[in-house]
């Protein structure tokens, strides 16, 4: 199966109406991509060890990590051998195809938010310190508000100085509801916030939590408590638990994903700061090893600097500078 069909398969479940539009856009992106993906082809006349070594360098430098990179290269080599590939045009397609497969596998992935159709949608933001949780909340709030939803931000980062204030400033800037207090424990803040959100007939609550390093047992327990409070109060699972990951994160990202996943049922990743020079390849590795997909990508400090994750574009970005 060619890559294009795979993409169609991935997206055709919930978004039938969008398919044509998407295909159109995608074909353009794809042609563009394959044309521009001159990767290594110019320097090399044949597909040999040297070529693979350079490909490996590109992927490791993008933080894909050794396991995922080696797995990819092995599969690529196998396919090149089996199909006796000797031209670079076709090789490009295989490279994209195999990377795509590492990310997608045989799953149906969507970057849409899983809204609660019957009432309040709860979205919990988690992650280590300094990854951009609060800014991501502001961006998502702005996006959802434009869709006509009534939003409340709950500022439950009671640990870092000024964090509740930061969330509050965003809320008033965006004109959404806010509930937060740094003088009490985070679980109580969340409890009170959910109560207020229900009273005010909000559609969505976005819950900001303190950054915590995944090896700090007490802080992870605190997070567990927060998620229990939410589930108890709403009587249902949290609709979305989003792990926020900084694009510059190295292989520690795997440990972050694994450890947070033990505490919370993570539904997706927000990959932030992709406007920098970091490639964020750790998300491919996380998908490959821990099986958490990316939902959104952040690329700036303004409220509109966030888009739904697009694997095609992403793969293109990996090779951009190597053309």
């Amino acid at each position: 199966m060619k890559i294009f069909d795979k993409i169609k398969k991935v997206f055709n479940m919930n978004e039938k109406e969008n398919i044509e539009k998407y295909e159109e856009g995608l074909t353009k992106t794809r042609d563009n991509f394959i044309n521009n993906l001159n990767l290594l082809g110019i320097k090399y006349t044949k597909i040999d060890e040297k070529f693979y070594e350079e490909l490996e360098e590109i992927l490791i430098m993008a933080d894909l990590g050794t396991t995922t990179t080696m797995k990819f290269i092995d599969k690529l080599k196998k396919r090149v051998k089996e199909e006796s590939v000797d031209n670079f045009e076709y090789l490009k397609e295989i490279i994209v195809d195999e990377l795509f497969l590492i990310y997608v596998g045989n799953e149906q992935l969507t970057s849409k938010i899983n809204y609660n159709k019957e009432g309040l949608t709860t979205i919990l933001f988690i992650g280590v310190n300094g990854v951009g949780k609060t800014t991501s909340i502001a961006k998502l709030a702005s996006k959802m508000k434009k869709e006509g939803k009534k939003i409340m931000i709950i500022g439950a980062d009671t640990f870092r100085a000024g964090a509740v204030e930061q969330a509050k400033i965003w809320a008033s800037k965006l004109g959404v509801e806010f509930c937060g207090n740094d003088q009490t424990d985070p679980a109580s803040v969340v409890y009170k916030g959910l109560e207020e959100a229900t009273n005010k007939n909000c559609d969505v609550v976005l819950i900001d939590t303190a950054g915590r390093l995944q090896n700090k047992i007490n802080l992870m327990k605190e997070l567990e408590k927060i998620s229990k409070v939410i589930e108890k109060q709403t009587g249902r699972n949290i609709d979305e638990t989003l792990l926020v990951i900084d694009a510059s994160t190295g292989q520690n990202g795997i440990s972050q994903a694994k450890n947070f996943k033990e505490i919370c049922e993570i539904t997706g990743i927000i990959l932030t700061k992709l406007d920098g020079t970091a490639k964020g390849g750790i998300v491919l590795s996380i998908k490959d090893n821990v099986n958490i997909p990316v939902k959104f990508v952040g690329f700036g400090e303004k409220e509109e600097d966030m888009v739904a994750f697009d694997i095609e574009n992403y793969i293109y970005g990996l090779f951009k500078e190597w053309n």
Binding site: I60, E165, N215, K216, D275, I282
Partner: protein, 435 residues
């Protein structure tokens, strides 16, 4: 903090120790594993290649080939190369007589504001300086609020002018500090990408306006391969005087630390290793290298051993051990050589995996070794060569001569016999003393 890397390299080293000699073949396998371990630790791709080649080349050198303990020699090479990467000495923070001005820079979320708080606290406590903070992050919502809250809890004054021009704020802040008699000024700036030209220019302007003594880059220890671009980007514009590595209390492998000095020659001055306001420690390269290797200080034992133990003699002993005709005379020699290395428990503590085996808390009675030595010394040369000739009367003489008892002499002989049996099993030339 470097636990993961520690485990990996520890395994590699134990593996090498299993080899009798280092050959092109087994070293290639080792090199491959070291390479993977370092890449998994986010050490820069380019350094890894260079590093592994250096280790490989040296490990195949003549010195190691001749060595009886190729494992230890290999570990020694690995450690030395690591220390070279980290920079041999630590570079202290600048503290001027009059006023010290420190400019903090870094990406968003690297931990600048928290570090400003910690550093102010440290400077006041340790050097008795009067710190003041200047709030120049006029972009991120509530950043000034954050610094003010920190200042309040530490009782350190924060100079701020709200969201005005940060260059002016910095200048005014320094003047204010002079008036008030503060002498250690920390300027907190907004997080920015090194490729953001406007914001980088602003940082350069702040720098030109206040002429700081220290220009520090605050960098997240969890960073991956992109770290080097960030460091270079900031350094090109600001001529950094140092780095502070934050979030080292996580389980990150911290390869950034290895990349930093080697690729840029910028010293790591401090590391952030706790959430608390006193969570800032000195960066000591050799300590980090040892932690990374997770073999305590096996290498310095190996170094020491190779200085003290006569190689030819050791070779002779090893041959005897293999054949099983190791006698008490050889045992005595071994003991003397080991004693030269210093107290045994210190050595045991340094052994790789010592913690796992519970050896770090072991107490060895030095008297016990002395008694064993005394017993053997009370034997004639012939008796040492052929312990089997020792009968009751000889044993009594030896016990009296060494100030011990016949039971003790018997115990030693029994232990020696079982040791000999064990030694036959060691065919790889690694000497182990079973006491």
């Amino acid at each position: 903090m470097f636990d993961f890397l520690e485990g990996k390299l520890d395994n590699i080293i134990s593996k090498v120790k299993g080899y009798g000699t280092i050959t092109e073949e087994n070293i290639s396998e080792m090199a491959r594993e070291i390479r993977l371990a370092l890449l998994e630790a986010d050490v820069n791709y380019k350094i890894v290649g260079e590093f592994v080649n250096n280790v490989k080349e040296k490990a195949l050198g003549e010195e190691v080939k001749k060595s009886l303990k190729p494992g230890e020699m290999f570990a020694s090479i690995l450690r030395n190369e690591l220390i070279d990467l980290l920079g041999k000495d630590s570079t202290p923070l600048k503290i001027e007589k009059d006023m010290t001005i420190v400019l903090m820079s870094g990406l968003q979320g690297s931990g600048k504001t928290t570090t400003v708080g910690k550093l102010g606290n440290l400077i006041r406590k340790k050097w008795n300086k009067k710190p003041m903070f200047i709030a120049c992050d006029v972009y991120r919502p509530a950043a000034i609020e954050q610094l003010k809250t920190l200042g309040k809890s530490l009782n350190i004054e924060v100079y701020e002018e709200g969201t005005k021009n940060p260059v002016e704020i910095a200048k005014n802040g320094i003047n204010y500090a002079k008036e008030k008699g503060y002498n250690y000024i920390l300027i907190d700036t907004a997080g920015r990408l090194q490729i953001d030209e406007t914001l980088m220019e602003e940082l350069v302007n702040i720098n030109d306006a206040v002429n700081p003594n220290e220009i520090l880059l605050v960098i997240d220890a969890m960073m991956g391969q992109d770290a080097i671009n960030v460091i270079n980007g900031f350094n090109e514009k600001l001529n950094l005087t140092g780095c502070i590595l934050t979030k080292m209390d996580g389980d990150t492998k911290g390869g950034v630390a290895l990349s930093l000095r080697h690729l840029t020659n910028i010293p790591i001055k401090l590391i952030g290793d706790s959430e608390k306001l006193d969570g800032l420690s000195e960066f000591v390269p050799s300590r980090i290298a040892d932690r990374i290797l997770g073999m305590g200080d096996i290498v310095s034992i190996a170094e020491k051993a190779s200085e003290i133990i006569n190689e030819e003699e050791a070779l002779e002993t090893a041959k005897k051990m293999k054949k099983g005709n190791f006698d008490l005379e050889d045992f005595l020699n071994q003991m003397k050589q080991i004693k030269k290395l210093g107290p045994l428990e210190n050595i045991l503590k340094l052994l790789p995996g010592a913690k796992k085996m519970g050896l770090n808390n072991i107490n060895i009675d030095p008297k016990l070794m002395n008694r064993v030595e005394a017993i053997i010394l009370s034997m004639t040369k012939e008796e040492r060569r052929k312990p089997e000739i020792l009968k009751a009367s000889r044993k009594q003489r030896i016990a009296a001569g060494s100030g011990t008892s016949v039971e003790e002499v018997n115990r030693l002989l029994k232990q020696f016999e079982s040791m000999k049996t064990m030694m036959k099993q060691f065919t790889n030339g690694n000497m182990k003393m079973p006491f």
